[in-house]
Every structure is written in C-alpha cells, then in structure tokens.
Amino acid sequence: MNCGLGSSKPDWKAYVLGELDAKARREAEAHAASCVACQDEAGSLRITLDAMATLRDEELPRRIAFVSDKVFEPKWWQMFLKPSFAGAAAIAVAILVHAFVQPGAIRQADPVAQVDAAAIEARVSAEVEKRVQQRLNAAVNAAVDSAVNTAVTKAVADAHKRNQENTAQMLAAAERRYGQSTELMTRQVTQLYAMNTGLGVR
C-alpha cells in the first residue's frame, strides 16, 4: 500500500531520528493517523531503532591514562629535545669550545680578532672571579655552619648537664625530707607506746 501524498509524504526517518521540528512532527502525526502505509513505515523504523537500542555500551577494559599520569612525562632523552634545554646545552658547548680552543689562535689573529680576544679575556676573568667568589662564599658558609653546629652541640650538652644537676639536687632534697619525716613518725609512735604501756618517755 502506498501513501497518497507520494513524494511529499512526511520524512519518517527524520521523524524517528528526532530531526523534525515541532510543527513538522505534528503534521506528520496528523497524516499518519489516516495513512496505513505511513503508519507501517514509521512503525518498522521504530522497531529497527528499538532493536538497535539493545546494543549496550561496553565498559572500558582499562581506564584512559590521564594527562597528569607518569606515562605522559617525557623520558630522560626527550629532555634533550626540549628547545630550552637544547638551546642551553648548545650555548654551554659553544662557550667551552671557545674557552679551550680559541686562546692560542687569538694571539696570532688580526686586530679585529684581538679585540675579540680582549673581550673574551675580560669575560673569562669575570667568570673566574665569579667562581672564586662562589667558592669563597661556599667556604664561608661551611665555616659558619660548622661554628653554628659546634655552638648548638655545646649548648645542648650544657643544658643536659644542668638538668642532671637539678635532678640530683631535687633527689637529695626529697631523700632528706623523707628521712626527717620517718624520724618524726618513729618518735611519735614511741611516745604513744610509752603513754599506753606506762613505760615512760625516754
């Protein structure tokens, strides 16, 4: 059975797929109410989509690695490929090569090269001075650290000694008080015994 509207019949695929606007949907439904062919077509499409809906989503066999996971961290060799690291490494190598290879050549070079040599010497002097200063600072820091450590150790030992003395004094005082109270009690007991037995007090 064919629809009487022919090629202008409602787009039932768009209908079941939710692509029709509200007005077109209402018109399609109104037409289907009196058209068996369109009812069949819409019904069979609906059944097909219902069957497809039985296919459920599967769980992931394992979770996706997050961007912050270790797996995304660059390997050690990849660090060398980073522009900043590679640039710094290249500059360092250039300076080293310059420092070790150039001095001999500079002395025999032309005036322009001598100007460069003077500049390089100035840079090298500055670098040497900087490194000496760094080492000096490190030595001073180490000496200061050592002195501080010694002072702290001594202070701790002194405090410990003072504590021991205080404890000994407190212990001696407590023993003295204990002796005195024991003696007093003995005397009182003796007096009471004498009063009760009539043996007199010595």
């Binding site: 695929k13 797929l17 692509e19 069979s44 499409l45 059944i47 097909t48 989509l49 219902d50 069957a51 497809m52 039985t54 296919l55 459920r56 989503d57 599967e58 769980e59 992931l60 066999p61 394992r62 979770r63 996706i64 690695a65 997050f66 961007v67 912050s68 995304f72």
Partner: protein
Amino acid sequence: MIFREVEDRDLISKARRGDVEAYNLLVSRWEKRVFNYLLRLVNHREDALDLCQEAFLKAYQNLPKLDDPERFSAWLFRIAHNEAFSLLRRRKPETEYEEPEAKGIGGRMLPIELSLAVESALKVLSDDQREAVLLKVYQGFKFEEMAVILDCPVSTVKSRVYTALDLLKTALAPTVLQK
C-alpha cells in the same frame, strides 16, 4: 543535562588555562562514549582503546585551538573520527570485514541474541554508513553537528544515515519480526 554542559564548559576553560586535573575530569566523563564509538567503528577492543587514548591526548594538545567550548563534544568526536579513519585506511588492504552470519534464529529472541544480530547488521554497512549511524543513533548528534565531525555537507550526512537505516531495517527484519 544543562548543568552537565555548564560544568563541561567550565572544565574546558580551566583546562585551557593549564589545569590538568580539569582535563582529567573531562576525560573521565567522555571516555566511555568515545571508546564505544571507536569500538563499533573499528571492531577491535585494543585498537579502540589505543585510538581513544590518542584522541584524548591530541584533544588536550589542541585545546587552545578549540574556538567554541560549547562544541567540545563534536570537536572531540571529530578528532576520534580522524584517528579511527586513519587506522581503517591503513588496515583496509590487509583485512576485509567479515560478513555477518546469515543464521536463522528461531523462537523468541533474547536481548543478547538481538544485540548480536544488531552487531552483525552494523558490520554490513560501509565504514562511512556505520559511523553515521553510530554518531546519530548511539551518540545522539544532530545532522549539523555530524557535518562538523565528518567534515562533509549535511546532505551527505543525511544520505549516509538514511541509506544505513534502510540496510539495517532489511538486515534486522527477519530477526525483529520473530520477536
């Protein structure tokens, strides 16, 4: 759903400012959908997982290029689509898709049997048709969004979906009519 979209947008803007955890949360939200889309497209779990991983990594790297955060899902599926078809193109000469078994299932169908029938029917479709169905029926994208994902006119998208739907209706008819 609206709340979820707002949150996604917020996460995207945070991720674009370098907040890795915001992006990780986006991955958690979308990984299952993207994985299932890829799984049904390439029909191989490990490949689908690798592609999914790659798609999310590329999405992260290209996040600053996303013009409109509102279109994140279409953009993400576009990346996943590119990954999948790159694999399918490499794989094509080596392996042909297996034809679904034309087995008659007698009696009343169980849901699992119906699912298997649908899986088989999807394999009848071409890669383009199957992807169109996956995006439309299983991921719920509009034709316009699909046109962005697939980088083709809306008319092409519509044609692929309609043809695929006709083929699926025919392939599933013997099964669903028994139900």
